[in-house]
Amino acid sequence: MNRKALIPLGIFAVLVVFLAIGLTRDPHEIPSPFIGKPAPAFTAPQLQTPEQTFSGKDMLGKVWILNTWASWCVACRQEHPILMEFAKTKTIPVIGLDYKDQNTEGLKWLARYGDPYDLSITDQDGRIGIDFGVYGVPESFLIDKMGIIRYKQIGPVTEEALRDKILPMVRELQK
């Protein structure tokens, strides 16, 4: 058995390693170009009181989370209990962005499942979502005191993501 015969086996092993790594990655998780960049400016009517507006600038000086949700969004229900628990701890404000939704439906959804948000704003035509590069709901952005996006959770906020990624970063950013 000479060494050359092992070359195809070696190439195959390398291929298997690459494919195995590929399997563990989710092609729907596209790295956001916003990490480390200022959050896009926005001003939008509030869901509960549409005559009042809310702007991203209002949160300067605070570490906060912008969480996109919608009444039609199924995966939002998955993260909802986790957000409810998180809201109870009063760690940082969570602002909801009701993305491409009817106000009445959004309000109904909050009444039915509970409202974990300090306040929600509406984005009926999806423009704020586009400015934030949202391509699937739910998505959450962790924004620091300077208004810079530090972390993006694509898909539902899981307990692991909250415990291992978001909370340690929040502690770091609040210093």
Binding site: I30, P31, P33, D125, D131, G133
Partner: protein, 155 residues
């Protein structure tokens, strides 16, 4: 009575033509054409194997609407690309820019091709030089001939 019925039917026909959900035609075919040309270069983030021009995903429709506004505002192609890339990253482009991060993507296949050609040439050369050398030396040849002589061929 008959006339009333006919009138109602006629009215129904007239109005039913409005009922179907028609895709709104572009107000300006020039804008539309440019928008489509640009969106064919862009990937739909929801159905990643579809272009923004061809996708019927909700987000794709919204993005086409945004592109239309940008085209109407006389933005250049580069500005519109920048608008998309700043939001969704290079991934949104079917032809991402050549930069260190994408070198493997652009040149990787050529590297593989060159490597494969190199091995092919080497293998062919080796086979050619191999066949030129005598397969049997003089002693072996003699032995083989004597063996052949003794063998009775089937008639």
């Amino acid at each position: 009575m008959k006339y009333w019925l006919a009138l109602i039917l006629a009215l129904q026909c007239a109005f039913s033509s409005f009922a179907g959900e028609a895709i709104p035609l572009a107000e300006d075919p020039v804008v539309e054409q440019r928008m489509i040309a640009i969106s064919e270069e862009l990937r739909c983030l929801v159905c990643q194997n579809e272009s923004l021009a061809g996708s019927r995903a909700d987000l794709a429709m919204d993005l086409r609407r945004e592109l239309r506004t940008l085209v109407k505002a006389n933005k250049s192609d580069a500005e519109i690309m920048e608008y998309m890339v700043s939001r969704y990253g290079d991934f949104v482009r079917y032809r991402p820019p050549v930069k260190p991060l994408t070198w493997m993507l652009w040149f990787g296949p050529f590297l593989l091709l060159i490597g494969a050609l190199f091995f092919l040439v080497r293998m062919v050369r080796r086979q050619q030089t191999g066949s030129a050398a005598p397969v049997l030396d003089a002693d072996q040849r003699k032995k083989a001939q004597s063996l052949l002589k003794d063998t009775e061929l089937p008639s």
